[in-house]
Subunit: 322 residues, 2 copies
């Protein structure tokens, strides 16, 4: 399945979201317009807008309401990528150079702020405050998740529960909110909204676990962003947490010392230690079981042109690098 | 006049704003709560909340509406301070250490994001979208101003017009919005709202010019934040722009070479060059004429318990380090 047909019945409406994003780029300040064109360019997969539109098909599908919402969540997501890349000193994103690499950290911090601000401003263009409230609350949680992650950096005793709390806040809640907003603005009933929210939450969590697995096992040329950063930046992810809790004693000790080291070949050595162990497989299993839960939520939804797509999308998140 | 009585009839309502700010600090994550307590502590002058409340006295003074607004603008202002300190590598703010100095740039970037997010979330708690729209638009402009400033860093040919555009966006628009929001939520008529908006805009511009003057002539112990940073960071301010345009040829050449240099005594030498010239006086004159315009707007307002305070406040902005 190619990306072009991935989003089924809403694929042909994504250009409307692109137009809304284009209108943000329309500024009288050329250097800013260039940066916006760079980060909002066509390389994004627009997963979050697609989730909002797909969920918005569960009753009255109203693009006038859904397009600003979909653009707003994509702006917010892009803002977190721009700031994440500053925090991670990353050089590669969506197969291009990061803004911090091209223009420096300061421009990247401000560009991220600008994107957050425009995200809220777009929400505030809708008649009801509901979207502003949900997006505000979601962003609060995203920031809390990121702060919790920074707080636990280099914490070799990080447990799975805290890891899940971090990734739920920083990634899953936004996916859940995309579904919740889309369904709510379509006028879906409460049960349907809740199933879609659960779907988004499970999908987002699995997505982040897969992202973390790819940081260890992926190829930069395929994934399109700098890899190995979690290990370099002292962010413990599920395979590492599992390894530190279950591997033979001397292997754990070796991983602990590698994680603390500043050796140039640190990432390579960690990879070589973890890959033969069952820890990546364990993380994959956790992601898969979340995807099963996402698919169960979809199965309980009333039938609609979106249902099959949401089901396929769930698998896609963990079977190919996104 | 002491700060405690500075805000006249709304002084006694500021504790309500503090309570609203306290509720943001109420998080289950202790490290975050500590950072919030640090940046939202009592050292702030709460000028922007005071502007919102004072403007809110121009008709029905309704604290239920004004307090969330006032807290929202203070959160936004604090966010810009936190991110500014990252951009400037500043160590001192409101007479205490900056968050980037205490916890590193990454925590400071995320804390700023968290404050922006909470600012919007508070706005979205109001019934009408009006505040969300104004705050969203204001934040867009603040970010544009900051980005324009970064873009013109080390631009020794920066002209006064661009400088004014930068400080209008990054500082004045927020003060103008505080007044506009306060007056609008009080139900003031259009003419009154516009006069208060003009007042805030002139006051904010003068405030920033005074801030920039203090960066050159101030004492850190009095001003309470790291000074000399504009010169170190290549940000041209009004006294410097004036000097580069009007000083004798050899003085201009010396200033240009000092601004480009990396000497340890750079700031001291720039100070010694500029202080005897009329350039600081020129900048002060520009600030004073803006304050005259602010006071003229106030004079055209209907009489109210706020009017005298707004008038006194205008002078205060340029006569003492704030």
């Amino acid at each position: 399945m190619t990306t072009t047909s991935l989003y089924g019945p809403v694929q042909s409406d994504l250009p409307r979201v692109e137009e809304a994003l284009d209108s943000i780029k329309d500024t009288s300040f050329p250097a800013l317009a260039q940066m916006l064109a760079h980060v909002l360019g066509a390389e994004g997969k627009r997963l979050r807008p697609a989730l909002a539109l797909l969920s918005g098909r569960y009753q009255r599908y109203d693009l006038e309401l859904l397009v600003p919402l979909a653009a707003s969540v994509e702006l917010l997501h892009t803002a977190t990528l721009v700031h994440d890349d500053v925090l991670d000193d990353a050089e590669l994103r969506r197969k291009g150079a990061t803004i911090n690499h091209l223009r420096g950290n300061e421009a990247a911090v401000l560009l991220g702020d600008y994107l957050i601000s425009h995200s809220f401003h777009l929400c505030s263009s809708l008649d009801s405050q509901f979207a502003s409230r949900v997006v505000g609350q979601t962003t609060n949680q995203v920031c809390e998740g990121e702060l919790l992650q920074i707080h636990h950096r280099n914490d070799l005793d990080l447990d799975q529960e805290t890891y899940l709390q971090i990734i739920t806040c920083k990634t899953a809640v936004l996916c859940a909110s995309c579904c919740l907003l889309g369904a709510t603005f379509a006028g879906a009933d409460g049960a349907c909204v809740e199933l879609l929210r659960q779907y988004g939450q499970c999908l987002g969590t699995a997505f982040q676990i897969q992202d973390d697995i790819l940081d260890i096992v992926g190829e930069e040329s395929t994934v399109g962003k700098t890899l190995g950063l979690d290990m370099l930046k002292g962010k413990l992810t599920l395979p590492i947490i599992h390894f530190l809790a279950t591997a033979p004693h001397e292997h754990r000790a070796l991983l602990r010392s590698l994680l603390k080291s500043r050796d140039a070949d640190k990432v390579e050595r960690i990879r070589n230690l973890i890959l033969p162990s069952p820890s990546v497989e364990y993380a994959t299993w956790r992601a898969k079981s979340l995807i099963s839960r996402a698919r169960a939520a979809v199965a309980a939804l009333p039938d609609s042109p979106s249902r099959q797509v949401l089901d396929t999308l769930a698998d896609f998140v963990i079977t190919r690098p996104m």
